[in-house]
Subunit: 514 residues, 2 copies
């Protein structure tokens, strides 16, 4: 890594920081989650084998289409797949064999090494919302996103203690030309944060630009040997990869950068209406996409991804936080573990248009399974609203609070002597209380997770303070986070290289808005 | 059971009913949950043994106080405990030995046998909020509860498909005298519902009245041999049982009716500030209370209960839905399973004053663990607001929707041929969609849980329909539920007996308002 790039590192260690983290305080980053609690598994070995066999059958008999990409078809032909036009069929066992070169866990480096994350195993990494063309806040309502919004969300993700990753398209800056905005987005991640981030996937050239920009920060050699970008490759479910996604996939895999191969599933439309059928299709699609990365460059880091929800069978609208997607999430995590690759899913998903109780029920019923299933990389952990059409400022900080609670939960139960607290029970005895006990005083600061957003005061006090709903408190919090934000230092030489690169690229093509 | 009592039974079977249930429709009761998914366990065997040994130590060395109840002390003395004033200490192993007579699972009978519930094993029973002196709705705000509110909540619990139980003190009807209101409450459960219900515990005499009223419905003999009432006995944590609770405990155990022995814990005040310390104290208290029921009447049904949350270490206010209470919940469920008794915990708990996103996050983060931990009897599953001070009409129907989702989740993944859906994947193939597929059409009605409350329409449609938050839709729903409510028939002879009993009891004492 280019040493100069890390001059802005902030320290997160020590007892003060631990206390601050427990308070959900801003600006003290938590390292990514290392789960000390078990995973929850809904399927037994027999059920998993059934789905694996069904997926093998789909891959061998139906196959997957790789569209408008002769290079991908050549790779498959050489590897021994059966090619029929753009349809590729895979002999049983072939993809599992190819996937043996994929790492079971890898490190994505951040320019601040303290923010580097492990993806795989017992790690869980929370990354923000990805993709919305709109933003919403209490003051200005719902509107198209701009690059200013984008930068604001980079800053909020940087400040949020339990958001471990700067993410990718935090919102779509529609005020910038489609063919140039990736330059400003990647630059914002590099400049306004020192957490790991994602590259552009909307065109192979933009993927190359993302790699080039990362090379200014980390050095060419380092990038070739290490993962510094993670990139979202969606399958066009059912059973299609298009040329745009394949183009980005090949660029990143060739550059040894991580890809997340994610079937984008609204069950009932892009997959069968059943959980087991959806799992079968997801496994088939993911395996095919992941194996392709290994044909491009064996050993390139790759993640089994799913974004799976349902549709309303009445209106066709996507629904979130319902039982079936939770079952898919738990089952897919098990399938990924059996494949031996990291897993991406989950988040704080919801269909609500506003950060009300619907949004929160649905988000919690996605985020809790995310942690318990053992998701390794979680996109959309904070800020997602309206089925992913809106990045919400208020919901971002509300979700970030929930992420911090998940992180605390993942620590499990402290069984140390202090945790057992027998001395406290003895000191207090029947009929008294623990408020003033020595053990209580000694553990006062770190005892319980302390939410900066929830109101637990008496009704009378709450009322006298204006009777605020949580989104009003969240409105104050994101503003104070943006105020408290301090830009992490970046070597001016790197900054200049980036600026030159962006200017040259922008000057080389006319603006495109579609 | 008195045959005549069941004339009002409603049928819940058949394909129409299944479809209706999936829609979250009103009036079609679901049977209690029989979990087909595994439980989630946070502690391993070593951790559980550590806590059990610590609890044994607390019981043997510190002991539990049984206050102002010489009869309880006599029972303990005879059983071989060490008595010191009101403090009782238990030789290691003694309570486990006594608890061997407690059933691992039992049926609580409803006057409609289709509504009877199994408590224990793989069953989960959702019962409504218990105890609030206030109610709240969007129209009239927060106010003291009345018997009219109480009856409304009985009706809502009767109509809610995934609320399996009529509960107990759905709210405190403060417009009635303290010493008489239990008569109207128990009568309301019997008359306005045919689901199982709870008895009064606020005075031994009121417990006796509850049993007497149940005898009119079920017959004296039946009640003596079967559980028709379940009753909440709180420990005065730390390590005290008071004479009121002991009095009710003895009445119910002697009558062979179920008791839930629940330490009421706000960790940091009534128990140590650590999860392991809290689990230790809960286990000690519960074991002592449960064992006492077996001394009164061996074989009487008894449930290991916990209500465990935390306090804010800054303000002392109770907090809900945070990580530590979830860990306590999971751990306590494991301890109960090892003891071989049913377990009560969980619910839709929250500290928020209004049914906003705080309320929903906190409730979901309590209700999800409730199901996954394998809770058998869940009080407060619907309607709880403001730390239990308020029964909320809107939150009741919102929570009931979540309960129905939990019930769907508990069915697990359908691995039948239809569930596997290979024919659908084959029919649709790459690049098409499943909306019109034969398999989709065949499973259209039952495919996904259908929430009657969430809005998943487009922003434009939602806005054109008034841009409503979920609590506004919930407001309409509880009103339509009350409108749709039909009273289940009750044998007029029973009704008359109840009426006579209540009149005689009321006439026998002056009104008391404290």
């Amino acid at each position: 890594m280019a040493e100069a790039a890390v001059s802005g590192r902030r320290r997160g260690g020590g007892a003060d920081a631990r206390r601050e983290r427990r308070r959900g305080g801003a600006g003290v980053a938590m390292p990514h989650i290392r789960r000390r609690v078990p995973v929850y598994e809904v399927l037994d070995g027999e059920g998993l084998t059934l789905i694996e066999n069904n997926a093998d059958k789909v891959l061998a008999e139906i196959g997957i289409e790789f569209r408008e990409d002769p290079e991908a078809l050549d790779l498959w032909r050489t590897a021994g797949a059966e090619i029929d036009g753009e349809r590729v069929r895979f002999p049983k066992g072939m993809l599992r064999e190819i996937l043996k070169t994929a790492p079971s866990t890898f490190t994505q480096h951040a320019r601040n090494p303290e923010r580097s994350v492990e993806i795989g195993g017992k790690s869980t990494v929370f990354a923000p919302v990805y993709g919305p063309p709109f933003v919403r806040d209490l003051d200005k309502g719902r509107r198209y996103a701009t690059i200013e919004d984008f930068r604001n969300f980079v800053k909020l993700a940087y400040v949020a203690p339990a958001i471990h990753h700067s993410g990718g398209t935090l919102c779509e800056p529609v005020d910038l030309p489609v063919n140039k905005r990736h330059l400003d987005m990647v630059a914002a991640h590099i400049r306004y944060s020192d957490k790991p981030f994602m590259g552009s996937v909307t065109h192979p050239e933009r993927a190359k630009d993302s790699v080039a920009m990362a090379e200014f920060v980390f050095g060419k050699e380092f990038v070739d040997q290490n993962c510094v970008l993670i990139n979202l490759i969606n399958a066009n479910s059912p059973m299609v990869f298009d040329s745009t996604m394949l183009g980005a996939l090949k660029v990143y895999a060739a550059a040894n950068q991580a890809t997340v191969i994610s079937p984008f599933i609204l069950a009932g439309a892009m997959s069968p209406v059943t959980v087991a059928g959806t799992l079968t299709q997801i496994l088939a699609e993911s395996m095919a996409g992941m194996a392709l990365t290994q044909l491009v460059r064996p050993g390139a880091p790759v993640v089994f991804g799913t974004f799976a929800s349902s549709i309303s069978m009445q209106s066709g609208a996507p629904t979130f936080g319902t039982p079936e997607p939770s079952l898919v999430l738990y089952g897919a995590a098990q399938l990924a573990r059996r494949l031996g690759v990291p897993f991406r899913s989950g988040g704080s998903l919801c269909g609500s248009k506003v950060p009300d109780a619907q949004a929160a029920y649905e988000s919690a019923q996605t985020l809790a399974p995310t942690l318990l299933a053992g998701v390794n990389f979680c996109l959309h952990a904070a800020g997602w609203l309206e089925g992913g059409l809106v990045s919400s400022y208020e919901k971002f900080v509300m979700d970030a609070d929930q992420c911090a609670m998940m992180q605390r939960f993942a620590e499990g139960i402290d069984l140390s002597e202090n945790g057992q607290a027998l001395d406290a029970i003895e000191e207090v005895g029947p009929g008294s209380h623990y408020l003033g006990a020595a053990h209580t005083r000694a553990n006062f600061e770190t005892a319980f997770y302390r939410s900066p957003l929830t109101d637990n005061n008496s009704f009378e006090q709450w009322e006298s303070e204006g009777g605020k709903r949580i989104e009003e408190r969240a409105n104050a919090q994101w503003k104070s986070w943006l105020e408290a934000y301090e830009q992490p230092a970046l070597d001016p030489a790197i900054d200049e290289q980036l600026e030159d690169f962006i200017r040259t690229k922008k000057d080389s093509m006319p603006d495109a808005f579609t």
